[in-house]
Amino acid sequence: MSAEQALQYCLAGVTVGSIYAIVAIGFNIIYNTTGIINFAQGEFVVLGAMTAISLHTVTPLPLAVAGAVAITAAAGGLIGAGLTRAVKRPTVLRLIIVTIGLSIVLRAAVLHIWDEKVRALPFFTGTEVSSVGFFGARITPQALWVLGICAVTVAGLTLFFRHTLTGRAMRACAANRTAAGLCGIPVGRMVTLSFTLSAAIGALAGCAISPVTQTQYDMGAPLAIKGFTVAILGGMGNSLAAVAAGLLLGVLESFSICIFPLAYQHAVSIAVLLAVLVFRPSGLFGSRDVSALKEH
């Protein structure tokens, strides 16, 4: 393989990896507040993209994206609020199972509102054939958009969780729900807020990746699996690590094509997920000590 070819594989991997990363970030927000894995995260991505596509028929693209983010966030908030009220003893396991059910319901709802047709948002800049040169290899400008949005969200979230009272209160809820209540933190409202936030970021992800991946009602689940793998790989709850892990997995998958047949591409990420769960459950970048402190 020539150096140029290798670089091209790398950039293809980065494109895919940035998509995984932006989906993974959504997982981390709910995890950081509740300790649960929201298996409906992929559906937030689809819902956001579909809403933007519909809105784009009547409004310009930036407005359509903003509207889709707002609508999906509201839906996420409603779901979070409903969840905290409906589930009587909200243990982590119960809530995770509820989110699995929720993902099925949401997928059916999206199928019902739209249909099974494949749709896509237009490229944010340029078209599908335009590309940016990079040392002789080429990358689609949309991948740069996705990476840029990743960077901005990660920076924003890090500031939010580390330095604001509300962000810290959300982390306190995950660390010890009862103690958070005893501090005067309204735990239910924090859970609602975390669903709102991660639905918003899921929707933003959906809009950013739609021009590249296109959007169909049932693409939530496979996306969620990839996002989940990446979130675990980076270390649950750490968004910066998730981006690094996403790019790593993307590149890994991209190079796997030269070695294994194309059909094994997804098996690579599952294998990675299993390996990490067995050998390093705290993630590649997570510190074992910190994850030990999180045990409830």
């Binding site: 009272l165 982390r171 010890n176 005893l182 005067g184 309204p186 402190l293």
Partner: protein, 244 residues
């Protein structure tokens, strides 16, 4: 300050409190002693709003708080330092304390929270030294101080402490107990739950004895320390060994 009337509660079908009544007057240190499983922690959790009451009444400063959620109980001026410390392990000491002051969120609250932070650091100097350390990596005694400090951050008028001596070296227990009269001097009222009855009765003004969900005995601390039944059941040899 706090009045509890015929409080009943439990878990599922298990009835733990069978009609408990007690009161704590403003400026007092009152202790509640009793054996394992008597329902002491359940009583405090119920007042704090973590466990729902089945029957009875809880009145704080003349205002009924029966069955209010924890955040509203804290907002009405009553904080609990829970059994087993329950600090936020993956967060720093300072962040843990800031969480204790969450009720004052908003612009005006920031200065007061800084002042409260200084007070807590003044009370427990180790916490200041360890402020950027993750709470989960503190020693048991330090975690207990953090749990108490976190409860104080809301500037409560009534502080409830559940077994602050649990699993801690005697020297540290003594240090924590020395701060209790200081809190009283600062105008706080204390409800202290202990198995270590001797240590508790020494700092307390009054005490109650809880046995299988019922108050069986109450009185001034000296009275209880001299009471035959109490001596036999709670101040026996085992307890002396823990204490001395």
């Amino acid at each position: 300050m706090l009045r509890i009337l015929n409080l009943e509660t439990g878990y599922g079908r298990l009835r733990v409190l069978k009609g408990v009544s007690l009161h704590v007057s403003s400026g007092e240190i009152v202790t509640l002693i009793g054996a394992n499983g008597a329902g002491k922690s359940t009583l405090l959790s119920c007042v704090a709003g973590v466990v729902r009451p089945w029957a009875g009444e809880v009145v704080l400063n003349g205002r009924p708080i029966t069955g209010l959620p924890p955040e509203q109980v804290v907002a009405s001026g009553c904080s609990l330092s829970p059994e087993g410390r329950q600090v936020f392990g993956p967060m720093t000491v300072r962040e843990n304390l800031l969480m204790g002051g969450y009720v004052r969120r908003g612009e005006r609250g920031r200065e007061e929270t800084e002042a409260a932070l200084e007070e807590v650091y003044g009370l427990f100097e180790v916490l200041r030294q360890r402020r950027d350390q993750l709470a989960g990596t503190l020693s048991g005694g330090e975690q207990q101080m953090l749990a108490i400090g976190r409860a104080l951050m809301a500037r409560p008028r009534l502080v409830m402490m559940d077994e602050p001596s649990l699993g801690i070296a005697p020297r540290v227990v003594q240090m924590i107990y020395e701060t209790l009269p200081e809190l009283k001097r600062r105008g706080m009222t204390l409800l202290l739950v202990e198995q270590n009855a001797r240590a508790a009765l020494r700092v307390a003004d009054r005490g109650y004895v809880l046995e299988t969900g019922q108050i069986v005995c109450e009185g001034d601390s000296e009275e209880l320390l001299g009471n035959r039944e109490v001596q036999r059941a709670y101040l026996g040899k085992d307890y002396r060994r823990i204490d001395e």
